[in-house]
């Protein structure tokens, strides 16, 4: 059997960054990936959202999908926010990554570029306290953040939220333009800053992995508002990196491979994967293995590989809710200026003013998500509801609120045998909040509503898409200085293995509410360096 130098599992944000670091260091890398491609034939024209709405008779293919997959007749849950063009992100996940749970509904991906395809491109550096609590090396992470920022391109403003978003990052581009609703909120915040800051609220422009200026062969954002429907390269997606790596002589990409487990063979690692084309199990050997399959998938692989797989492991996931907001001052306004569909503003709640245990919210313009996505939440008949919502639409925004998460014995996963699945097992998950956690979240959400009222926005409805919907998962194989099974050495090496490294979010012992993506990419880079 041929022995490869390094195998990287997964092509998502962490796989792409780990592989790039290894390639830049001159080592040979094989990336194993399920690599589900976007098979939607829909090619959205390069026009503004409003132009398409008024003229394109094919538009139903973009908004509701040729198979009507964009019409959700069920309850709002994880993945409901995906547009038809993004549904491929979850394709076949139920088949190869089955989950059994009454309380936890995660989103996982086998797509080329992984969950990075559904990323809202929000970037936040963790504070020193958050890094320490997560078990990450503070100084090295700060350096790694800069490396990743230079690779993916980040746009941000220096404002009150900088300590929570771009921090000390240099070489950042100017921020994206705000829509009129967010401009009005931002101006109001600046005039009422003192009282809001006293209550721990800080508001500013978000840091986004979105180019506002040309960078190499990637163009600046075109403000067509179709960012959740199509990729033009201005928003960072991991496949951009993998496409570049494919041009390198020391990089090989192998799709159709769902990795099942690994075993140690002397100094080498033997990896077993399911070939989705031939439907056979195959093995491949390497000197070092980097698992970047995303927290839940990586944990499945580890549980199958070490022991009998019956071990119960901790789980972290940021609780998440959407608030539908009404900004009465915007009623009757035309609301037709160009904009991005990404977060317009970031709102952090840091009552202790120490950049720890912070709740993080993002404010989105609602327009490009279409009325039909929200109308069924309105307790009115559809005819009158349409007329009222059409009037309210210019004044509607969506606030997505994330809460930080810590380990308790009420949140865990385990892999149990199930012969009805292709992999022969199923991930069982339990996610419940303690009474104290529930109370804290409820109190914080009240404070968010009160802060938004001060900023001229009324909360119309809070929508709870359930646990797992934040798509921020970690903590299953926590970092530990002591050698313990199912734990990771802070340098990324998995205890109980000789040459297996975990380069995604599995090790984080605490999950800040800020987006995890920039931090897992920085950590993947560090782990790749450690693995060499």
């Amino acid at each position: 059997m041929q022995e490869h130098d390094f195998i990287v599992v997964g092509s998502g944000c962490t796989g792409a960054m780990a592989a790039q670091t290894l390639i830049e260091k001159g080592v040979k890398v094989l990336m194993l990936d399920a690599g589900e491609q976007n098979s939607t034939k829909t090619n959205i024209p390069d026009k503004a959202f409003a132009d398409i709405r008024r003229s394109d008779s094919e538009q139903y293919k973009y908004w509701i999908g040729e198979d009507f997959e964009g019409i959700n007749t069920g309850k709002t849950t994880t993945g409901a926010q995906l547009t038809p063009a993004r549904k491929y992100v979850m394709h076949n996940a139920d088949k190869f990554l089955p989950v059994l749970s009454e309380t936890f509904f995660p989103m996982e991906s086998l797509s080329y570029g992984g969950l990075g395809n559904a990323w809202g491109v929000g970037c936040c550096v963790f504070s020193d306290k958050e890094l320490e609590a997560a078990g990450l090396p503070v100084d090295k992470m700060k350096e790694a953040y800069q490396v990743i920022s230079d690779r993916i391109g980040i746009s941000a403003e220096k404002d009150d939220t900088t300590p929570y978003t771009s921090g000390e990052l240099g070489n950042i581009q100017k921020p994206a333009e705000l829509d009129s609703n967010s401009k009005a909120i931002y101006e109001k915040y600046n005039s009422r800053k003192a009282s809001l800051n006293a209550k721990g609220f800080y508001i500013g422009k978000p840091a986004l992995a979105l180019l506002t200026e040309k960078k190499e062969d990637r163009e600046a954002v075109n403000y067509n508002e179709l960012d959740f429907y199509t990729d033009k390269g201005s928003a960072y997606r991991p496949w951009l990196t993998v496409n570049q790596l494919k041009k390198k002589a020391n990089f090989q990409y192998q799709p159709n491979a769902v990795v099942l487990n690994f075993s140690n063979e002397g100094e080498s690692v033997v990896v077993t994967y399911h070939d989705t084309t031939s439907r056979e199990k195959k093995t491949i050997k390497c000197k070092k293995l980097l698992l970047c399959a995303s927290t839940l998938s990586t944990t499945r692989i580890v549980l199958r590989s070490l022991g009998d797989g019956t071990k119960r492991l901790p789980l972290l996931c940021d609780p998440y809710k959407y608030f539908t907001l009404l900004q009465p001052s915007m009623l009757g306004k035309p609301n037709n200026e160009p904009r991005t569909a990404f977060a317009q503003l970031s709102l952090f709640h840091d009552p202790a003013h120490n950049n720890f245990d912070v709740a993080a919210a993002s404010l989105y313009s609602y327009r490009s998500l279409m009325l039909f996505r929200t109308i069924k939440e309105v307790p009115l008949n559809f005819r009158d509801g349409r007329k009222i919502m059409q009037y309210l639409l210019p004044a509607i925004s969506v606030l997505g609120v994330h809460h930080p998460d810590s380990m308790t014995d009420k949140k865990y996963i385990e892999v149990v045998k199930d012969n009805s699945t292709i992999t022969g097992d199923i991930l069982k998950a339990e996610f419940k909040l303690t009474a104290e956690e529930q109370q804290k979240i409820a109190e914080r959400e009240k404070q968010y509503s009160a802060a938004m009222r001060k900023l001229g926005c009324l909360t119309l409805k809070k929508i709870d898409p359930g646990f797992g919907s934040s798509i921020h998962y970690s903590g299953c194989l926590p970092f530990s200085e002591d050698e313990k099974p199912y734990h990771i050495n802070p340098n990324g090496k998995l205890y109980g293995s000789k040459n297996v490294f975990i380069a995604d979010g599995c090790g984080f012992r605490y999950l800040p509410a800020k987006g995890i993506t920039l931090s897992i990419m920085a950590y993947a880079h560090l782990t790749a360096l450690n693995a060499i």
């Binding site: 409003a50 709405r53 008024r54 003229s55 394109d56 008779s57 538009q59 139903y60 908004w63 509701i64 198979d67 009507f68 964009g70 019409i71 007749t73 309850k75 009623l331 009757g332 306004k333 035309p334 609301n335 037709n336 327009r367 279409m370 009325l371 039909f372 109308i375 069924k376 309105v378 307790p379 009115l380 008949n381 559809f382 005819r383 009158d384 509801g385 349409r386 007329k387 009222i388 059409q390 009037y391 639409l393 210019p394």
Partner: protein, 133 residues
């Protein structure tokens, strides 16, 4: 020639379009509604089937039944069917003006209040009607 099921779906598409925006449905919207129902298959209870049949025969009462269901049973099959038509119409450029935001004078707010009152009245009378059908 259309199957009986598709004939019924075509009728539903026409009635729901008239109800939602006061216009005749174009052929694209009707085709999409039929396809969507065949693809998504919305299960209806016996009672819901009767109610659906009733409102298709009496289109002037759709708003009343819909309003009551919006409060009492928002996940009902009838609501889901009207919702499908809503999504299809919103995705059709011919009807964009019924969904895209518009500039309005402050006085338009009074019209919206009137619409809200009508919606509440519809829901109230709908509760009574639902007891009979």
């Amino acid at each position: 020639m259309q199957s009986a099921g598709n004939t019924q779906l075509t009728k539903e598409a026409q009635v729901f379009t008239k109800y939602l925006i006061g216009k005749e449905a174009d052929s694209l919207s009707v085709d999409l509604y039929v396809k969507a129902n065949n693809k998504l298959t919305i299960p209806l209870t016996e009672k819901e089937s009767k109610r659906l049949d009733f409102i298709v025969r009496n289109p002037s009462l759709i708003g009343t039944v819909d309003g009551a269901l919006a409060l009492r049973n928002p996940e009902s099959g009838i609501r889901k069917k009207i919702y499908i038509m809503f999504a299809i119409l919103e995705s059709n450029p011919a009807y964009a003006d019924y969904f895209l935001p518009k500039e309005h004078k402050g006085s338009y707010f009074i019209s919206i209040i009137g619409t809200g009152i009508r919606a509440a009245w519809n829901a109230l009378t709908g509760f009574i009607l639902l007891a009979w059908i």
